[in-house]
Subunit: 228 residues, 4 copies
Amino acid sequence: MSGAQQGLFARLKTDAAEAWRAYTTHAFVRALGDGTLPVEAFRFYLAQDYLFLIQFARAYALAAYKAPTLVEMRQAAAGMNAIFDIELALHVRLVERWGMSEPDLVRTPEAMETIAYSRFVLDAGMRGDLLDLMTGLAPCIIGYGEIGRALAATASGQAAHNPYRDWIAEYAGDAYQQVVGDAEAELDRLAAGSLTEARYPRLLAIFERATRLEADFWQMGLNAVAGG
Amino acid sequence: MSGAQQGLFARLKTDAAEAWRAYTTHAFVRALGDGTLPVEAFRFYLAQDYLFLIQFARAYALAAYKAPTLVEMRQAAAGMNAIFDIELALHVRLVERWGMSEPDLVRTPEAMETIAYSRFVLDAGMRGDLLDLMTGLAPCIIGYGEIGRALAATASGQAAHNPYRDWIAEYAGDAYQQVVGDAEAELDRLAAGSLTEARYPRLLAIFERATRLEADFWQMGLNAVAGG
Amino acid sequence: MSGAQQGLFARLKTDAAEAWRAYTTHAFVRALGDGTLPVEAFRFYLAQDYLFLIQFARAYALAAYKAPTLVEMRQAAAGMNAIFDIELALHVRLVERWGMSEPDLVRTPEAMETIAYSRFVLDAGMRGDLLDLMTGLAPCIIGYGEIGRALAATASGQAAHNPYRDWIAEYAGDAYQQVVGDAEAELDRLAAGSLTEARYPRLLAIFERATRLEADFWQMGLNAVAGG
Amino acid sequence: MSGAQQGLFARLKTDAAEAWRAYTTHAFVRALGDGTLPVEAFRFYLAQDYLFLIQFARAYALAAYKAPTLVEMRQAAAGMNAIFDIELALHVRLVERWGMSEPDLVRTPEAMETIAYSRFVLDAGMRGDLLDLMTGLAPCIIGYGEIGRALAATASGQAAHNPYRDWIAEYAGDAYQQVVGDAEAELDRLAAGSLTEARYPRLLAIFERATRLEADFWQMGLNAVAGG
């Protein structure tokens, strides 16, 4: 695909290739894929991801406030509703299977890594415009889809004995992949409206920083069992 | 009812009695009730109210961003969804009956009165906290319910020949009255959490100003046919 | 001047020519220039302009929060400081000459016109980025400079018997004209960074709306004496 | 001192005693005091603190936007000006003495710890009101004053051979201690206006979280030399 036809996400990913690789092939991700991730690392991650989802819903609310058209307002509202109606419920089910309850989650203090990524994106979005906000969310939304697909394509990622098989299947599944496709398309639509070459480096800085903070989020899970 | 038991809305309404009366018994309201409102005044009002609803949805999105708990986030999301799924559609149906289409509405420029009320509330909410925001929205949410009930209780408000009978019935109806009750209850819940006597005058100032801007919004409808 | 070399402000002014003319040659402006403006109209305007300046300072604070670089943060801070250290003091002196005091001003309720323009710009800026915010402020900052220059170039605008001579001289003066030049330059710098043709219509909509709200602000002064 | 007379800061500090102690007596702080802090740890800290100051200036800008009165707007503007006119310049001088230049600083990527604290406070302030914002800034503003005073009261903290003597003297000095006193007084003024017992736990949560993020900020300096 030529540069001119390349979507914004593909361009950002290419230009932040090292950070993207560190995030999407992090040791935590590889251990999810081969089923060797310590349960405690996953539980810690899952509780923090629940807390992150609440901030993520706030980010979609902010997107609805910022959206310049009704079409984009409705899209942001749909994203927020999906978190409230689907993702939080899925997390609670997953969490219960791992021996925690929703009240446990709500009482869990946010880790620094959770705060860093969520508040960075919220502030980047409030400071800039909707494109800044959605660029900050892209490593999360689109990256999870890429990770899910990659892990689901491996034997161990689908193996019956892999305790993280359901997590992988969720993000590799059609429903989530549709969310990913929508997010890529929205980035392109927003970029068509307001991306200039002079602005691109600032957007890349948001994307790269958010990607690194996602890698830190995985590392947080490993640190939880490493006495870190 | 003693002062101690009085809800926040009742207290605000009492303390801004003159502005409240000017708003809820405005000549535009009385003319809706007896069916004498010129069609052009209503059409102008309806188109502006459609544009206002879009800003109102942004205010609910802001409320979801600002909400300190999941309960309040979900409530704000429900308010936003109600606008997208119910109220905008109702407006489009009403508007079509009066000879306009949704594309006409979207093309209509916002009147100064529409801008003044909507942006005043959005800014008061961003500047302050969720209680400031919901106080600014109260004259709209709760006032329309009071006006609907009052007009529906009159013979002319229900009369088959009153061209505004459906509008009146909508705001007097159980579904909308439930919204009103929820809004009053949320104000009380927020006030229980963060209202002090020292703060009250600032809250009253927001309420009174918003109420006067609602009266200006009715006047805008009359001005549209008065060569104003 | 070719389109390619034309600055953003000049382009916006050309494309909103009718609104710009209605604002900069409003009857209130012409009456300032020939000295026939009723004193009561000017006093009403001046008190509202004082209240507007406070919101204007908030807009500069927002610009400092939103600024993507230290250079732009310092520029926004300088704008805010100029309001606090110079313009508010000038207004108080002017106001005292016309028989009012600062406490009178602070007690004056904001008129709908004051609310509409100030909150429209604040919300446009919070919703979008720094370019949206500065575009909304441009009719005020740059327009006053153009009006000041135009009136100062007339015999009656400089005449000793024109009671509004000092007001005209202030906005025609070198200090204020420097502010105007800086604002035009900053618009161009921001546009170089993030203006696309696809975005331009949205920017023009902000500019045109803000310009019309400025004309409404003049009209407010006339209405104050017309029983309006 | 009875609870009724106790200021808000003293109350928060008491209720977050363990976090406060961990922050103000962190190993990094003790090593500053006895002069044993590795130079590389200090240099890393100083560069990040420069980047933090820029976000801190944004927080003061946000405070000016949010301030409910002119008095508080001017106070916030003064805080922002102090960063631009004094603190950034001091940092640059300090940094140059340690072999770095301002361009080096601007190019330094923000560490996760810098992002976490700064964006947490900015978001807490945007989400809530001015009291939420100033509560989030209090551990930084007031804590540095307490640390400076404590270290300056020790022999090693004043010793000619302590390479961090100037840093200590700056925060122990009258000018900075005045800033601390002003910040405590403003917290009390804001609390008098809008603190309720029902709200206090939410405020404490912001304070405690911000205090822990400050301790993480010190730890970041140590990690920089520990291969961490």
